[in-house]
Amino acid sequence: MELRQSDVAGAGALTRRAWLEAGAVVVGFCLAPTQAALAQTAAAAAGAGRSLRLDEVDSFLAFRGDGTVVVYSGKVDLGTGHRIAMRQMVGEELALAVERIELIEGDTALTPNQGPTAGSTGVMRGGVQLRQAAATAREALLAMAAQRLALPAERLTLSDGEVRAPDGRSIGVAALIAGRTFDVKMNPKAPLKHPSKYVLVGQSLPRPDMPDKVTGRHVFVHDHVVPGMVHGRVVRPPAVGARVLAVDESSVSKLPGVRVVRIADFVGVVSADEWAVVRAARELAVQWSDSAPLIGHSAVVDWARSGPFVAEEVISAKGDAQRVVALRDAADAVHASYAWPIQSHGSIGPSCAVADVRPDGGTVWTASQASHRFLNVFASLVDLPREKLRVIYLDGAGCYGMNGHDDAAADAVLLSKAVGKPVRVQWSREDELGWDPKGPPQLLDLKATLTPDGRIDAWETDMWVPRATANLEWIPLLGPLAAGMRQPVGQAVGLVSQNGDPPYGANAVKVTAHWLGPAPLRPSNIRAPGKVANCFAVESFVDELAAKARADPLAFRLRDMANPRGAGVIRRVAQMVGWQPRPSPAVAARGGVAAGRGMAYIHYKNNETYVAVAMEVEVDRATGEIAVRRVCCAHDCGLMINPDAVRAQVEGNILQTLSRTLYEETTFDRSRVTSVDWASYRLLRFSAVPRLEIALIERREEPPLGAGEAASTPVPAALANAVFDATGVRLRSVPFTSGKVKALLA
């Protein structure tokens, strides 16, 4: 049975011993979330008494009396399959079936702080840590059993919750440790099972949450109900930075049970009736000051080039620096500029959270990627010591970085404190697309020359991108800012400067970041931060160089590809798509529809996953519409814990990035975001989904690398390169709208 996060919400109040003894009972029935919330008084919430230290096995694992194991994971499942992958990694080391492993995620009272679930680190860092805890536990269990059985540990084996000796004797794990904690330090050298002996890792086991998700039973944070809970909405201003001049509460006095909460420029409404607050948020008459602090989306590229800048940084430099300098005046140099727009996370469910803040403590249920980080933030908002507050992860609608969920949680915290009741806040569609932190804009200039034999000689990348504020505690949140509460000053954008250099041989390379100050709209990390735009620029530009050299773009890349795993995915994708070697563009076919193919490659972050993507497209010359017919992808992320979960990530990366590349741009005027529904912020629809062919390269003996982001990055360039192949037109700014394509074709 799948034990939900919320089912064990009350566990924190139990002592360790009681928890272990109660274990069988706790798993015996499935509490509705409401009951879970009942069991979890605010006062009990924080006093879990569990070790949360990263150097102790007990922080990650607990063995129950019935031989089942509870895994405490600081990383969470964002629809990505961690819920099965983490069980596989732990189960493998403990030789325990995944059905006998419960998983608790992202609960500040119960799970250690393994850092936010971001940057494709879930398995690579979080899972590897859990695996090491399990290996340490196995070592300790064998040592304990060796003492009891008076045999050397090397002769004992652990499986299915029992330690067995060659003479047939066995001793249950429960008998060894039930009722006690391990008190064993993590041993980073505890031996891991050899990959050749894996029975769970490498299997495409089904995700345990899937039956509930497709039958409507899965409890999202949106569905979480706490006794006495009321619904809340925040009325956002019509312009960024507008101040409240007046609120006319009588405008909503006829709506049942509606109470207006105002803290400085923070205006919220609450009621026990959700429809009443939906209407109240729309109908509340608020007079706002005029405000026009934005530059408008059409001015973003100019802003990026003109600054103000906060710093300039050489990201990488190799080879003869003089050759790079000479590029600037070289008559035969190729130059091109590429632009990436501001984008929303575009979560299908607007952000939601539930907070129950009392004078003596509280709990926040949130879809945050970083429960531990926001524990401190929320505690500071309500003047509670962090020990008195608990933040519990519950699934939200897919985010792809920090969408509005942390803001919604702060809204709920402020409203709950104000009305003294648990408050559920769900944003509107307009709130989400208008106010979620945005993927930052990026601008890149590239220059290069070729050697006489058509190889890359000198290469220079200049990138203009908002700079992440050093040591920023957290991204300033909307509600607290409006309420006049102290928030950090600064911005987060993720690691945006990687992969700005060509992954192929070149005689001299220089990559410079021109760091910009505050972005036009509040930025945050969004899937494959920076890398998606950098790879778009670099891999489009490599194609431009190949075209100049009249070389086949794939052969051009392979010729100077030193990395065998990189060459491996390129060759594989060429085989999959049936790549015909020839320079681009194709010989122009007559008629209304032009067909072409393109490819792109990345070695993600220069030290992680290898991906090559090739695709076939058709371009309607009359309308400028691009139809992506077929996408092939070869993907090497080292050891795959669950290949089907990896495949799902690769599929999602490809389709989501096609959506970002073809359609997505957040538009805004001088006052506000104007792309606030699905008509003005378009997404890829089923009708435009191409055929996907994915090859996952098996590397059982290599370390596991991330799969959550890498495959997104080659997609935009592969698409641009295919359009160039079809039409001879080079798309250098995202999105590739039909209007843009049509204008270029004219």
Binding site: D209, M210, V214, T215, H218, S347, A397, D644, L655
Partner: protein, 156 residues
């Protein structure tokens, strides 16, 4: 307070509403505890709130409670359960056709409606039929495989 009698998942249910204009979704989620239908946009642009009204797909965000009348409402909970999934739900499980799962129930409902209309749809027909449902995680290809699987299972 006005009272409305609905037929939901083959049961007769009574709902009170101070505002008869309330979208069906809020009555289903908050009054009847059927939370499988999700708020996505409230604008009939995403399909997250899809239910069946007399076997035809309908967006519960724009269907007003007062307009439901005697029509039979089916929500995802009325199709099947984790232990006894509807054949379409079983096909989605077999194909692991969800990521975050927020949009999934609307897509399952749209698939049920499609297969009633066209028992053996081509991939292109399925793509057109689901074009009103948005997914941001990129589960589309699996969903299309699940539609084919469900159609084949129904054929036997």
């Amino acid at each position: 307070m006005p009272t409305f009698t609905l037929t939901v998942n083959d049961a007769t249910r009574t709902v009170e509403a101070w505002d008869p204009e309330v979208p069906l979704l809020y009555a289903l989620r908050n009054d009847l505890g059927l939370h499988a239908v999700k708020f996505g946009c409230g604008l009939a642009q995403c399909g997250s709130r899809l239910v069946l009204l007399d076997d035809a797909p309908a967006l519960s965000c724009i269907v007003r409670l007062k307009d439901v009348g005697a029509r039979r409402v089916v929500t995802p909970e009325g199709l099947g359960s984790p232990d006894k999934p509807h054949p379409v739900q079983a096909a989605f499980i077999a194909e692991q056709a969800a990521q975050c799962g927020y949009c999934t129930n609307g897509i399952v409902m749209a698939t049920v409606a499609l297969l009633r209309r066209i028992p053996r749809p081509t991939r292109e027909q399925a793509q057109q039929a689901l074009a009103g449902n948005l997914c941001k995680c990129g589960s589309h290809d699996r969903v299309l495989r699940a539609v084919q699987r469900a159609a084949e299972a129904a054929r036997g």
